[in-house]
Structures are given as C-alpha cells and as structure tokens.
C-alpha cells in the first residue's frame, strides 16, 4: 500500500443532507454531515439516540427507509481498484456489487437481524454465493473457516444451527462472520454491542479489533457509549440532532473536549465503582424534535453555557489541526486565548 493510498480516505462524507417524508410534511434528519474515514482506521460516530447515527450509516449502505432520501451532499467511497464513486448517486445494480462485498454492515439487534428460517451457515454462505464463484464445497469450507475466525466453537456443526439456537453473543459473532466473509474494505457497525451484556460486549470488541488488524479494514463504528469510543476509535465524530458538532482524533477529543455536548457525554463514561449498566443522563432535556429545530445552535436549549450569540446558526469549523467543533463559545475562547 503506497503512502498516498493510506492517507487518502476510504470514505468521505461531504455536506450530507437526508430528509424523511412524513404524511404531509418532511423532516430533515441529517443536516450537512461531513466526516472522513482513513483506510484501516476506525471512526466512531457517537451521540445520543436520535442524533442521526443510524441514518448516516444507512445512507452509506444505500439502505435508507423508503420514505427517506439523500437531498444533498456526497458519499465518496474509494473502491478496491482505486476508483472513487459517489454512493449517494450510484445506481442499484452497481451498488449491489459493492454492498456486502466491499462495504458490509453489522446491526444492533443480534436477535432479529438474522433470518430465523435459514441456518447460520446458509446465511453466511449466501454472501459467497452472491459475490464469488466458489462452488458449494468451497463455500462450506469458507463458512467454517469464518466461524472459527470469530471463535465459535464446533464451527462445523454450528453452521447447521438456526439463529434461535444461539445466544445473543454467538449470534453477533455470526453477524460479524457474515459481514466479513468477503473481506470488505469498510465495515459499518451500528451499535454492535449495545444489546449485549458487559462481558460479551468486551469479547466482541476484542474480536472486532483483532479482525480489523488481520483484514486491514476501516470501521465506521456507531455507539452512544463514550467508554466504547475510548476502546475502539482512532477518530471520533460527535453527532447531535442530525449534525456533527465536534470531530477530532480520539486522544484530542478526550483531552480537550470543546463542545459542551461532548463534555456532557464524557461525563457518562463508567468509572470503577460505578456500575456500567447504569446510564447517567448527562445533560437535562432531550434532543429536539426534527420538526422543531431551534434556528441557531441546536444544542442551545440544553446548553449550560449558552449565550445570546447561540441563537445564530453555527457550523463545524477547525479549532486546531484536525480538531473541528461547532460552537460559538469554543471559537470565542480560542480567539480570546489567541489574543490574550
């Protein structure tokens, strides 16, 4: 891999706007989302429920619900052969060759994301059937290999199991095997461990990190848990109400969180002595309804330090190096610091 290829992002989302049609009205779920993910790296999208993380990931997969559409922006994906395509405008036939084979996805709900009527081997093998020329025996061998890779014991017999015969953790391993069987360059993981208990969660995260190294893939990792971000991410984009409010390399973000919302989220990281399952409400209030977005900073109604200026719209702007933040005050502090 040449130096330029490594530094050039696999995925670059620019100015993405996604809207959903309702009965009579329309709501904008993503407003000007922009993130970049380098080859082999992990970008975490973090934010409370309803902030637009899943919509972002489904846009990349071209799997938005029927009532949703990309209204503006580009989703640039660098294919294995080096060519760049805009996934927001790719036709279905060409998209199908990428989906599953080059970009794969694992979902939050291991209980309902596998088809109950097919064996797990069948469901993993189907990926090979769709994207490779392997014959039935070779597919079978490869499925067993994958099940072993995700550390499922007795892989050869487990491949004949139906999803309901496996535990949640095992099913998520199956989902990972399914997603990775074609060795995708980009894996999208939408809250892959949220539904699992803590021990299983740690095992799955370990597994994902190991497989990422072995397969050299990039991961778009979606979570609402800052603790998981710390364990998994190279870069972080914090989302609030359909927009990225802060983006930075993980160390920078944890050392100098500059958006009040990010600071609120960081206060929720479990510490020793505090049970991990306990979710603290970081900031009073909740994400505004998409139909009732405040005109200025969307976080203003909940922001502990909001000022008059916060009624003006605010955009993501560089703070220092590759640290970007969308907050009037963060930039004001910087100005003060620079001048004082």
């Amino acid at each position: 891999m040449s130096a330029t290829a490594a530094s050039e992002p696999v995925l670059e989302i620019e100015g993405l706007r996604v809207a959903f049609r309702a009965r009579r009205s329309a709501v904008t779920a993503l407003r000007d989302v922009g993130v970049a993910l380098g080859a082999g790296r992990t970008l975490a999208l973090v934010g409370e429920s309803g902030s637009g993380k899943s919509v972002t990931s489904l846009s990349v997969m071209g799997l938005l619900p029927r009532n949703g559409a990309v209204e503006a922006g580009r989703i640039l994906y660098r294919r294995r052969d080096g060519t760049r395509v805009d996934l927001a405008r790719l036709d279905e036939t060409r998209f199908r060759a990428i989906r599953g084979r080059e970009i794969a996805m694992i979902f939050q709900e291991p209980m309902s994301s596998l088809n109950p009527l097919f064996t797990v081997g069948d469901q993993i093998g189907e990926m090979l059937l769709l994207h490779t020329d392997l014959d039935a025996r070779a597919r079978r061998r490869r499925v067993i290999e994958m099940l072993e890779l995700v550390e499922i014991p007795a892989a050869a017999s487990r491949m004949n199991a139906y999803p309901h015969e496996l535990s949640g953790g095992m099913r998520q391993r199956v989902m990972i095997a399914l997603a990775l069987v074609c060795e995708p360059a980009l894996l999208i993981a939408d809250e892959p461990t949220t539904a699992l208990d803590v021990t299983i969660q740690a095992q799955i995260l370990d597994l994902m990190r190991r497989l990422q190294r072995e397969l050299r893939m990039a991961i778009l990792f979606i979570t609402h848990d800052m603790g998981v971000v710390a364990e998994m991410a190279d870069d972080v984009a914090v989302m609030y109400a359909g927009a990225v409010v802060e983006a930075a390399p993980v160390a920078t973000l944890f050392a100098r969180p500059s958006h009040p919302y990010t600071r609120g989220l960081l206060a929720t990281i479990p510490r020793p002595g505090r049970p991990r399952g306990e979710r603290l409400v970081p900031i009073p209030g909740s994400v505004p309804a998409l139909s009732a977005m405040p005109p200025g900073c969307a976080f203003a109604p909940r922001c502990p330090i909001a000022v008059e200026a916060c009624r003006e719209p605010v955009a993501l702007a560089p703070l220092e190096g590759d640290h970007r933040v969308a907050c009037h005050l963060a930039h004001a502090h910087e100005t003060v610091a620079a001048h004082g």
Partner: protein, 313 residues
Amino acid sequence: MTSYLVRRIVGMVVVILLVLTIAFVIVRLAPGDPAALMLGPEATPQDAVELRARLGLDRPILVQYLTFAGNALRGDLGTSIFFNRPVTEVLAGRAEPTIFLALMSLAIALVIATPIGIWAAYRRGSWLDQGAISTAMLAASVPSFWTGLMLQRWLATELGWFPAAGYGGPDADFLERMRHLILPAIVLGIVNSALILRFTRASMLDILGEDYIRTARSKGMPERRVVLRHALKNAAIPIITIVGLTFALLVSGAVVTERVFNIPGLGNLVVSAVLRRDYPVIQGTLIVVASLYVLINLLTDLLYLVVDKRVRY
C-alpha cells in the same frame, strides 16, 4: 414432538366425540317425533312405530346414544332414510366433486392471490396496491351466486367454453367431470382469493419491515431474492393457516355454488337432506365435515413444524 402428536390426536378425538354428541342431540331436539317428521304427513301411525324401531328410537336415550356413537366411531353412520343406503356410501358418492372443486378453487385462488398479495405489499401505497385491495374487497362482497350466474351466462351460455351446469351425467369420464368443475372453481377461486390476497399482503408487509430483511439487503442481493427467498418463506407461515382453513371451509361450505351449477356434491346433498329431513345423512355430513376440519387443522400445524424450525411443540 411425539407427545405433542399424542396430545393433538387426543384433542382430535375429544372434538369428534363432541361433534357426535351434538349431531345426536340436534335430532332429538327437533320439535315433534323424529319418526313422524321424517315420514311426513301421509304416514300411518304403524309406519311411525316401525321407523322408530328401525332407528332404535324406542330404546332408552343412553342406549341410543352409545349405539349411535359406537357405530359412528366404527365408521357406521347409519342408513339414509331417503336413499335407503348406508350414509357412508351416500357421502362417498358425493365427495368426489366437492373435494376436487375445493382443490381446484384453492389452486385458482392461490395463483391469483399470492403474486398480487406479494406485489401489493412490496409496492405498498402504490396504485397497484390500492387497486388490488379494492378489487379484493369488491370480489369478497359480491355474493357468489351472482358471480356464478354471471359467469355461467357469459362463459358457458354465450361463449360455450365450459358446460353450464351438472357433472356430466353417469357415463362421463374423469376429465369430462373435471371440465364441469372449472367454472364453479373459478367462482369459488375468485371469492376465496380475496381473503388469501389480503392475508398474503398483510403478512408480507409485516415481514418486509423485519430487521433480517434489512440484513438481506445489506448483503447486496437483488430485490427479487430479498422478497422471494427471505421474506416469502417467513410470510408463508400465516398464509399456510389461512389456506388450510379456506380448504376446510370449501369442503364444507360450497353449498351455494354447488346449487347454482347443480354439482352433485356434499353441499347439494346436505341441502336436500335438510329438506327431506333425512337425519342420518345430516348427522353423517356434520360428523365427516367436522372431522375433516380437525384433521386439516392438525396438518396445518404440522406444516409449521416443517417450515419453521423454531416451532417446538
């Protein structure tokens, strides 16, 4: 699994015993002396006494019941008063047209309803979906005798494509007899397709919203495969139930259509038997149809086992 089967079969026996009891009681509850009723106004008291003896009506009620139930369980449903032949024989002679009519109309209903139901669910909200739903509602609300008479007039009388009525007479070979069933099968097929269509659509709609359908799409497969492999197999489970019930209803309830097309089937037999007060035939039909119903129900549940490995009885 085995214990489930045993439980189900015990359940079946209980239901059938219940039906036997009901069939027995109904005749006793009919106002007046059954023998006199059966014989009609011209009969002499002597006739009535003879018939009562023949039917065992002069014995204690419990003895009557046990005899009746015991005979029925051994496959002896008594003797038809009108035909003066064993009821089982009479029923067997009328079963062929009814069963083939049921099978043909079910096939027609499935051919019409499943593809349209699947497509309507896939394109929910489109003009095709709305058109399919309204047409189905219309088809279900038009009385089948009217559809029957219209089709009879158009396809049989005017165009001469099919025989207008009957079952081909005593010498007709099997194909000729089946030819007589096509038109009534179309009528019943249309009526029943409405129900199956709505069921198919509803259960496909449910399934298409499932997480595993999104997973299937994320694998990069054509929509055809998503719908026909991943969704349909799951949607098939409720569809099987309604198809089984429809079949059971068709076997027991094609009365109007058999009447309109003068098909000598069970529906027609039952109507005549009621008019003639041929109680043994009425009882026999009730018992056979109810048993069939219970049996089809069991078969449907067993089909679940084959389709869905999660089902453990």
